[in-house]
């Protein structure tokens, strides 16, 4: 329970940051520090139970029981150490941040830092691999945003860091999935104890490599080490917390956590030791080369993480004692050192060693704190860093494998430590001693600013002097990882052991290196490698993007034909393949052909031939319309009355709306070469034959579907409706219908959006029909008189009829879709009859109608919750006088929503496409245009001047009355 409270308090802190920030500004850090400190206190209070008694605190809360993923938390020794680090160091850094930033609000920073603390705590307490992965990714995301907070120059480093660590995250995810599938549970402690790791070497190796990749990217191991210095674009508190004490330790945590499973996998040992030591030496050498204090600290972190990885790779008890203690020591001195970089930067205005020097006199306390931390880093007694490093040496000497392995590993660690000593000296000496450079107007930092680093550095001294107090922790953590009871025997003085001489060698040779390189000055800035990490990364990144472009180029064409032809050809190829191999098909079920059907076949042939051969747009539209009516007749013959009616109305509306569009386009289609026509005809013929064969051989060879029969048998009893198709739409599958309604509504809104952003194509000039002033057709008002008279009386009738269709839809032909289409057709009629676009505009808020329709449908769905689920229709029988009764259902409300949605979309299309952008009165003329018996009297394009039949004249004539 206490673990859940830990997490909940942190979550509450995350949620509370906006308020704290609003009230306290940068001082919100104090509050957050207090919270974290309290949590660290709680963790410390658990020490007797976890460390002394060797108990593990566990907590389980069901999360996703269907797949066996629970909110499992567990705190053992390793978890205890890392939780303490996250909360304790977090508290120091939060307090430090209040003085690091200038006055003002820091919402983004505090929010993300607290979120990170939450994620990191969750990560080290998670006892479920899925949970572990989620928190792992959350730390990556928090890190990305925290680096990105530093402004535009930090965006590339943030992206590079993110991509790299996210790649590691993918490796972890793969490992998680593999483990969960193999072991059959997602509980981490069970997975680790499973015998599969010793039984199946290949599996163990695969997972080990994946985990190792995740840890290497997170903990900046060679060859991924470069992201850490790169991430120094972040502000210093971020670096101190994420890139020194906590996030980079997530990799170390992962490696320690998985040691019980992998400590016998040869690849695991070899890779950790090899890459760890390469990283340790490389990082240390690079650190010595830096001018920038922060980069120096970053490379130093890389190097120290390398040592940790290597010593975990050894996997013996002594090695894991070393790993535990060094993790603690490093977190303390490195967090302090990063914070001191911030202090120096803040007080002096630079962190470049070339501009620093001789600050000890002006900043004595800072100098003291810095010296304490670099002494620990360099491994000088009596600081904690000395004890931990000595243990690392001792651990590495036990490296598995051939005899010389231990010696080689030890030597490499000593080499890294020689450089460590040198850059530690460079850090402190270059800043605080030597000749003063740059500005002399420097003051000591405030006590509140120095408190954080001073506590961290001081802890390194106190724990160093009282190092045996850490025995319990080290023993417990070792038992959790390497297993078995192993006395830690941490002490400052071991007697004249090998590791003592290694420490002495590191210090002595380090001093020589300092003298020889003038504390690194001679190495600084020199290029040791022909390439740097970020450039390699950018090159790879570019390469991947270019490759993507190459692949994309294959289909990158503006011509829709190129894209459309591919699936058609694939389908044809499939047909050919099936025809060649042949498949067994059952006989036809019942009589499938009526004589009258042939009439429709003939009609379809006529329509298609017409559509294919015509060069006129309007004729093409008419021909496709005929095909649509043929389809409607087919539907009618097949007993689908509802569908046939829908098809019929849709066909009418399509033609009306298409006519509105066609008047803006040239009269005839684009010319294409004859060869292309022949080719497309061939492809089309093959597709047609394929479709016909498919329909003939693959359909209609079984009885009516079981589902269909179920609906037929049960619809009355289930829904009270006898129009089965309608009950499917509004009762059984209402969720699908709701989805379709939304698609319809979105289409309507897109039409508005597209036309508002791009504008209509201007009406095509040469299609403008201008008739003589003397002609009756000249006056738009006069020549639409009859239609207007009819339509104004028809509209109310159509609307009433459509409402009737909707109401009876549950039992008879009708329903929301049909009713909406009929209502929409009524408006279309009014629109067509209007003398001008201005008059025709139906002043209804059509986007609103669409929205209301969808809302009504959703509302009827919510009513369903009274009976248990979304969209479940409620029924009731209403008694009427005269012994009659009516069946009332909320499905009707749903249908009203559908109705409104359909009407709204039709109104949208009519108004938007019918609108006249430039010349009022155009819409009437456009619709008259295709009528052949009104030949154009003149074309305004040929003579746009003061012609008597000037189109503007016509327009004012048409629109003014």
């Amino acid at each position: 329970m206490v673990l859940l409270i830990l997490l909940l308090v942190l979550a509450a802190a995350v949620i509370g940051t906006p308020l704290a920030d609003r009230l306290l500004g940068r001082n919100a850090g104090w509050l957050l520090a207090a919270v974290l400190l309290a949590l660290a206190g709680v963790v410390l209070s658990l020490a007797p139970s976890v460390l002394a008694d060797g108990r593990s605190i566990e907590f389980t809360q069901p999360w996703m029981p269907q797949i066996g993923v629970e909110l499992r938390l567990r705190m053992d020794g390793v978890g205890w150490l890392f939780t303490l680090l996250v909360t304790g160091v977090g508290a120091l850094i939060m307090a430090y941040s209040t003085r690091y930033f200038p006055k003002g609000r820091r919402l983004g920073f505090y929010f993300l830092m607290t979120l990170f603390a939450f994620a990191m705590t969750g990560l080290v307490l998670a006892d479920d691999v899925v949970l572990l992965f989620v928190f792992w990714e959350l730390t990556t995301i928090a890190s990305f945003y925290l680096i990105g907070l530093s402004g535009p120059s930090a965006s590339r480093p943030a992206i590079r860091t993110f991509l790299l660590t996210a790649m590691g995250g993918l490796a972890l995810l793969t490992a998680v999935v593999l483990m969960a599938l193999r072991v059959g549970t997602t509980q981490l402690s069970v997975i680790l104890a499973d015998p599969v790791w010793s039984q199946d070497t290949a599996f163990a190796t695969t997972v080990a490599v994946l985990v190792l990749l995740a840890a290497f990217t997170k903990s900046a191991q060679f060859p991924f080490h470069y992201w850490l210095p790169d991430a120094m674009a972040a502000s210093t508190p971020v670096s101190a917390y994420l890139h020194a004490a906590a996030m980079v330790k997530a990799g170390i945590y992962l490696l320690m956590r998985f040691t019980p499973a992998f400590s016998d996998v040869a690849v695991w040992n070899a890779a950790l030791i090899t890459f760890g030591l390469i990283t340790a030496v490389l990082g240390a050498v690079f650190a010595l080369q830096q001018h920038d204090l922060k980069k120096l600290a970053a490379y130093s972190t890389v190097s120290q993480l390398g040592l940790l990885v290597a010593v975990i790779g050894v996997g013996t008890e002594a090695a894991l004692v070393a790993a535990t203690v060094h993790t603690l020591a490093h977190a303390l001195f490195k967090a302090a050192l990063f914070m001191m970089v911030g202090v120096i930067d803040h007080q002096v205005g630079t962190r470049d060693l070339r501009e620093l020097g001789g600050l000890a006199r002006r900043m004595p306390v800072s100098a003291g704190v810095t010296v304490l931390s670099v002494l620990s880093m360099a491994g000088i007694p009596p600081l904690l860093g000395f004890v931990s490093k000595e243990n690392v040496f001792k651990g590495l000497l036990e490296a598995p494998g051939p005899e010389w392995a231990g010696a080689l590993a030890g030597t490499a660690a000593v080499v890294a430590s020689v450089f460590t000593f040198a850059y530690s000296f460079r850090f402190a000496h270059g800043t605080f001693w030597g000749s003063p450079r740059g500005t002399t107007d420097v003051r000591e930092a405030r006590t509140t600013f120095l408190a954080g680093p001073a506590v961290a550095a001081g802890a390194g001294l106190v724990l160093g002097l009282a190092v045996p107090t850490l025995n319990q922790l080290a023993e417990r953590a070792t038992a959790d990882t390497a297993g078995g009871d192993h006395p830690a025997e941490l002490t400052l003085w071991h007697g004249l052991s090998v590791d003592l001489f290694m420490s002495l060698a590191a210090i002595g040779l380090g001093a020589v290196l300092v003298w020889w390189t003038a504390s690194g000055e001679r190495l600084a800035g020199r290029t040791l490698f022909p390439v740097t990490g970020p450039t390699v990364f950018e090159a790879l990144h570019e390469g991947v993007i270019r490759l993507g472009h190459r692949v994309g180029d294959l289909t990158r064409s503006d011509s829709p034909t190129r894209h459309l032809v591919v699936p058609i050809l694939v389908l044809i190829a499939l047909t050919v393949a099936v025809t060649v191999t042949g498949i067994d098909v059952p006989d036809h079920f019942g009589e499938t052909t009526d004589t009258v059907d042939w009439l429709l076949v003939a009609l379809a042939v006529v329509a298609v031939i017409g559509a294919v051969v015509t060069g006129s747009r309007m004729a093409g539209l008419v021909m496709v319309g005929i095909a649509g009516f043929t389809t409607a007749l087919w539907l009618f013959l097949l007993g689908a009355y509802d569908v046939a009616l829908t098809q019929l109305v849709v066909e009418i509306l399509t033609v009306v709306i298409a006519a509105l569009v066609l008047r803006r386009l040239p009269k005839r289609f684009h010319k294409v070469p004859r060869s292309r026509t022949v080719l497309t005809a061939l492809v089309a013929a093959a597709a047609g034959v394929s479709a016909a064969m498919g329909a003939y051989f693959l359909t209609g060879r079984r009885d009516i579907s079981e589902t269909g029969q179920y609906f037929l048998d049960h619809s009355v009893e289930d829904t009270g409706g006898s129009n089965v198709v309608n009950t499917i739409l509004v009762d059984y599958r209402a969720m699908d219908t709701l989805g379709e309604l939304v698609v319809l509504g979105v289409a309507g809104l897109i039409i508005i959006a597209v036309l508002n952003s791009s504008g209509l194509l201007p009406s095509h000039g040469d299609r403008r029909v201008v008739v003589s002033r003397n002609s009756a057709a000249y006056d738009a008002d006069d020549n639409t008189l009859i239609m207007r008279a009819v339509s104004y009386s028809l509209l109310p009738l159509l609307v009433i009829w459509s409402v009737y269709l909707m109401l009876r839809g549950h039992n008879d032909v009708g329903g929301g879709f049909i009713a909406g289409l009929v209502g929409g057709a009524g408006f279309a009629l009014v629109y067509l009859a209007a003398p001008s676009a201005e008059v025709a505009r139906i002043r209804l808020a059509y986007p609103m109608i669409i929205g209301v329709g969808i809302l009504v449908a959703v509302f009827s769905g919510l009513l369903g919750y009274f009976d248990g689920s979304f969209l479940r229709p409620l029924h009731t029988e209403l008694d009427l006088p005269l012994g009659d009764y009516a069946h009332i259902t909320t499905a009707l409300v749903f249908d009203v929503g559908v109705y409104l949605g359909v009407v709204g979309v039709i109104l949208t299309a009519l108004n938007q496409l019918g609108l006249d952008e430039s010349r009022p009165g155009d819409s009437t003329l456009g619709i008259m245009a295709p009528t052949p018996d009104q030949p154009p009297a003149s074309t305004p394009d040929q003579d746009p001047g003061n012609h008597p039949e000037d189109p503007l004249d016509v327009a004012s004539n048409g629109g003014s009355r």
Binding site: D558, T561, H588, T592, T593, D597, L600, A604, V608, V612, G620, L621, V624, A627, G628, T631, W634, L635, G639, A640, D642, V643, V650, L653, L662, L665, H670, V672, P673, T680, V683, A684, A687, G688, A691, A692, M693, A695, G700, I704, S705, G708, Q709, L712, V716, S722, N723, V724, V725, L729, T737, E740, L744, A747, G748, L760, L761, N811, F817, V905
Partner: protein, 102 residues
């Protein structure tokens, strides 16, 4: 047989139009393809029972399969909304040409 032939004829016309130049013809092809596909859905329900699935008029044993009808009904409306959207696209810009002048 007759329905299959109708479908084949419509698909021929649809594919021919869709492979032409100019968005309007592609849209017309799309509309026609919609007809063909809807008929194919109906065909999947079987064409041997042709009575309307209105239980006030027909018995449940002779009525045609209502399931494909429900599919087709919504498919028609969705296709309609896509069609008017594509028509909008054809009406914007300078021309409905889909290819560079050749």
């Amino acid at each position: 047989m007759t329905l299959a032939i109708t479908i084949g004829v419509l698909v021929f016309g649809a594919v021919f139009l869709m492979l032409q130049r100019g968005l309007v013809r592609i849209i017309l092809g799309f509309v026609m393809l919609g007809h063909a596909v809807n008929l194919m859905l109906m065909s999947a329900g079987g064409t041997f029972r042709r009575a309307q699935p209105l239980l006030g008029y027909t018995s449940a044993d002779t009525a045609s399969d209502p399931l494909p009808q429900a599919f087709v009904l919504t498919a028609i409306v969705i296709a309609f909304s896509i069609t008017i959207y594509m028509l909008t696209l054809a009406a914007t810009g300078t021309d409905d040409d889909t290819e560079d002048a050749s």
